[in-house]
Symmetry: C4
Subunit: 147 residues, 4 copies
Amino acid sequence: MQDVYPNDQHGAVNHPEPRNHPGAHGKTVWIIAEGYLPAPGPRPDNPALSSHEAACVLNTGDRTANLTITLFFTDREPSGPYQVSVPPRRTLHLRFDDLKDPEPVPRETDFASLIESDKPVVVQHTRLDARLGSLALMTTMAYGENR
Amino acid sequence: MQDVYPNDQHGAVNHPEPRNHPGAHGKTVWIIAEGYLPAPGPRPDNPALSSHEAACVLNTGDRTANLTITLFFTDREPSGPYQVSVPPRRTLHLRFDDLKDPEPVPRETDFASLIESDKPVVVQHTRLDARLGSLALMTTMAYGENR
Amino acid sequence: MQDVYPNDQHGAVNHPEPRNHPGAHGKTVWIIAEGYLPAPGPRPDNPALSSHEAACVLNTGDRTANLTITLFFTDREPSGPYQVSVPPRRTLHLRFDDLKDPEPVPRETDFASLIESDKPVVVQHTRLDARLGSLALMTTMAYGENR
Amino acid sequence: MQDVYPNDQHGAVNHPEPRNHPGAHGKTVWIIAEGYLPAPGPRPDNPALSSHEAACVLNTGDRTANLTITLFFTDREPSGPYQVSVPPRRTLHLRFDDLKDPEPVPRETDFASLIESDKPVVVQHTRLDARLGSLALMTTMAYGENR
């Protein structure tokens, strides 16, 4: 295991923290209590301008973060686990409508999500609602805990 | 009391934390300082596209969370308690315009809310404003404390 | 000083915490790093539908919270102190365009705010932008610290 | 080094905290997991009404805060360090499209940012999306840690 966070070709900053997870920041449990996939709106073939909901994950550390996502609903047992990995020094803007296994996320249905990681990460929740043509946006840091 | 968070038919992840509240995450006191129910807008009969404000609650634990909600105003004593329950492993997207007992939440009036739970939960605040026809959205994690 | 948080006529919940500030929740220092008063838009005489920015404050405690607000700018010394009080068990949705003493908040100018309270409170930041006619909304819990 | 936070001509409040950083509030590491520069929209020459994304930084302390920003991407090594300073008692609403050295931030590309400061500051994330003409807004406090 390397203890040094290497400078990349773009001159990225060195992270001095050795800790258990060199360069890592954040927490290992994240919760988004609000979840809802609106209808796509009038541009369903344009991913950037159709409705979507995302969990944006940043792994600043030098080891892959393995995430387990569980989805909770109003009137049935949870769905999951969904397995996602975020490589070292990468961000993943995970769209909930891209989750397919073990089942797609139902549209126009209230849900909530629990994201558990084996390395510290940071999670931010964002929705773009394009149902009526114009755009509405919302974002918040998820609620973070350590296991 | 069962200490094991069971796998459901969808393969939901096991939560290893035993603690006092198996599988539970979050806090027991949550505050939303901003509250306002805008006029419904031009689609009052469509709940998903008319103005609303919600406290989205997630109970990841294996026991029912019993919530007591108190509403605060600018120029009168608080209203409440409103009593709401969230079953184990369920989310509740509670719309403030659904609160009726002991009294409905007045529209177009500044308020704030205190949500107290007997089990850890996570609370996120969301508003959809449809007064002018197009949609505006906002969200934030509520402010959490432990009693 | 009374140690008991009284039930009001609406049956508001009893807050059991005695602590130093009976019934109080939150923190005593709050920061909103983003501040900007957009032009009012096409409905300047309608406060609810013209652009505004607010710090929504909730005082759940049984004593008045006295707030001191300092505004910070990009290229000049801070402005303030602005003095505001929030009575016991009340919320104040403070609009920055209502601040007049020692000076109004300039429009279309980047600023930030520091809110210090002598009792614990919770602060949430909200902006409504109506410059182009339709509404855009954003909100976040402010950043809280204890002195 | 001066230990006293001076009153300015506008009567700004005295900050009593001596600590290591007189008057300083906040944390030294901040993360924004969501980042995306939308196309500018139909008013590209109007900075206030074209799409932009900002990290709003407040330095309440009496010494300059020196910030190092690293940008993370989905499929390449991080970019940076970008160096920015925030003078004492000043706010900086840093637009990501103003970052030029060592390279501009690519538009319509997922990214995330790590902001490290040598003094405590507070960071709030805001995006204005004007791609379709009307405005959409979102904001959240960034995720803060101490080194």
